[in-house]
């Protein structure tokens, strides 16, 4: 079973991202589950969302405490949220930043991947410069960094299920897939 945790802010599309990733894995014949950590959410507040993917039926209905993959949609969250909490020792972290991965210090040795999803989102007209909607761009990076699903599957799912600007969202995912950097890629 692969367990994934998304950290974002209300309005960035974390919940939709967790759902699109589940849909993509389901399209590749895996069993899936996607759910948000519900507080009583509002725009701008920290949001956590989760996806479970497995070859077998997913029966575990508890929250995800030890994720295999952590995805950070907003770097400012690092000041207030412990994004690496419970992350498995070999678990991967994908971050939305223009910085190369080795310049990001999270105090853990886990492999890090970075992509400027905000810039890519704005370029494709997704949200504004102040509040870019980065969910589909970050997913492109996640797929490249982890290989959970094929990028073609993800793009198809985005084209079918993105709530708006389907083509733009698909292009953002493709561009982030190409641009994501891992620590050893340099």
């Amino acid at each position: 079973m692969i367990e994934i945790r998304f950290h974002g802010r209300g309005g960035q599309g974390s919940v939709i991202a967790s759902e699109l990733l589940a849909r993509a894995a389901f399209a590749e014949e895996k069993d899936v589950q996607s759910f948000p950590m519900y507080g009583v959410e509002r725009r701008g507040a920290p949001v956590t969302a989760f996806t479970r993917i497995d070859e077998n039926v997913v029966r575990d209905k508890s929250k995800i405490h030890t994720p295999d993959i952590v995805i950070v949609l907003d770097m400012a969250l690092l000041d207030s949220v412990d994004v690496t909490e419970g992350l498995k020792p070999d678990g991967k972290i994908i971050l939305n930043t223009g910085k190369p991965p080795e310049e990001v210090d999270l105090g853990v040795d886990n492999p890090k991947y970075t992509v400027d999803a905000s810039e890519i989102a704005v370029k494709h007209g997704l949200g504004s410069k102040v509040a870019p909607i980065v969910n589909t761009a970050i997913l492109g990076a996640v797929v490249k960094a982890t290989g959970i699903v094929d990028i073609e599957t993800l793009v198809d799912v985005i084209k079918e299920h993105a709530p708006a600007k389907k083509e733009e969202n698909a292009k953002a995912a493709e561009e982030a897939y190409e641009k994501v950097r891992g620590e050893k890629d340099e």
Partner: protein, 397 residues
């Protein structure tokens, strides 16, 4: 064509009402139920669902409108949660007393104060005496399946009672997973249209809701008793037919998971059951003779089935996601009541997961190991509150 879709428990309930061809839907929004009515309103607005959607000013009115619709011979559906359900209380009894097969979804949410929007079965169990049949669901597929089956059970002329399909707040209501949305023709063959013998009809006027004098009232109650006694058999019968038509077994009165000849039986309701099955598998691999009974039907309580199930069992560990003020959890009490004077194993009541407190496989395993240990040491405590801040260390280890 039937189709697999990734949907939330709330959408599963909405699709269940659509496939059942509910004709009147009256509801008032409340977290975490809101999406059920949003989706139904959308389906109606887009012409995909042929129903009258009535916006009402409260849950009390939602059930009142559903009752009136049902009385007029329409198939009625509604949905609510926690405080909304409590506000319906009076009308829940009216629906059963008037013998109207209104079906509703209740999203199990804790009652305030303190305010909570998270999973807890107290809201539903506080209504167990209102004449509603109560079905607890383990996953989103079962929510959809149960709505369809509930109409078939409730509209049977020997039953004619309302039902609640209940699902856990957020754990099912807002979690998306694959659900088969059946072909409409398949559902139509399984569930005929609702055509009661007596209904409001201007051409054939009849009186409804009349006075029950002391020499008659008791007999009306006896007729409900008779109907309730017939429900267990009807639930199993409809479950069997559902299995044949849709190729899926929702579990009938009690779903038995690896219960053959077990020494320790764990009893669960709702979404905890799903996680618990993984833990049962783990413990069985470690050599423990343990199984799980998922209480799917809480009202009427499946007394006979339970008596059968506990034969030869040493310990029954009951996981109650409720505390209904006064003693312990409701399921443990009902179970003790059912088995009194028959085979009597140790019964321990574990109060768990109130107000949405997370139940991890680890905590569930600790509970089950505690139940296993009772075989040697005997009952240490009748009611155990699990994973409180004050006893966290013991349970999480």
């Amino acid at each position: 064509m039937s189709e697999m879709k990734i949907v939330s428990g709330n959408y599963a309930a909405a699709y269940g009402s659509k496939l059942s061809r509910a004709e009147v839907v009256a509801a008032y929004p409340i977290t975490p139920q809101t999406e059920v009515v949003e989706k139904i309103a959308q389906l109606v607005a887009e012409g995909e669902m042929d129903a009258e959607f009535i916006k009402v000013e409260s849950e009390h009115s939602a059930m009142a409108a559903s009752i009136a619709a049902s009385n007029a011979g329409a198939r009625a559906f509604t949905a609510t949660s926690a405080h909304g359900l409590a506000l319906m209380h009076e009308l829940l009894m009216w629906a059963s007393g008037a013998r109207l097969p209104v079906v509703m979804t209740n999203i199990n949410r804790a009652m305030g104060p303190p305010w909570s929007v998270w999973a807890d079965h107290h809201d539903t169990l506080a209504q167990k005496g209102t004449g509603q049949l109560q079905f607890f669901c383990e996953n989103n597929q079962e929510v959809l399946d149960s709505v369809i089956m509930a109409y078939k059970i409730c509209e049977d002329e020997e039953i004619m009672l309302p039902a609640m399909i209940v699902e856990d707040a957020f754990i099912l209501s807002h979690t998306k997973e694959p659900v088969e949305i059946y072909d409409q023709e398949l559902v139509d063959d399984f569930l005929p249209s609702y055509d009661p013998d007596y209904k409001l009809d201007v051409d054939q006027p009849l009186g409804f809701g009349s006075l029950g004098m002391p020499d008659w009232y008791m007999d009306f109650r006896y007729k409900i008793f008779e109907a309730m006694e017939k429900v267990p058999e009807k639930v199993e019968e409809v479950n069997q037919e559902f299995k044949e038509v849709f190729g899926r077994d929702p579990g009938g009165l009690i779903e038995e998971y690896k219960t053959d000849g077990v020494d320790v039986l764990i009893v669960t309701m709702g979404s905890i059951s799903s996680t618990s099955k993984d833990v049962i598998d783990e413990l069985r691999e470690e050599g423990h003779n343990i199984g799980l009974a998922r209480l799917r039907t809480f009202r009427p309580f499946p007394v006979e089935k339970f008596r059968e199930l506990i034969k030869g069992v040493n310990v029954v560990g009951v996981l109650d996601r409720n505390y209904t003020f006064g003693h312990g959890g409701d399921a443990a009490r009902e179970i003790k009541d059912a088995i009194y004077g028959h085979h009597e194993p140790i019964v321990k009541d574990y109060i768990v997961g109130l107000g949405g407190r997370d139940l991890t496989p680890k905590i569930l395993k600790n509970i089950m190991e505690d139940a296993i240990a009772l075989q040697d040491k005997g009952l240490d405590k009748e009611i155990e509150w699990v994973d409180l801040k004050v006893n966290q260390k013991r349970w999480r280890r």
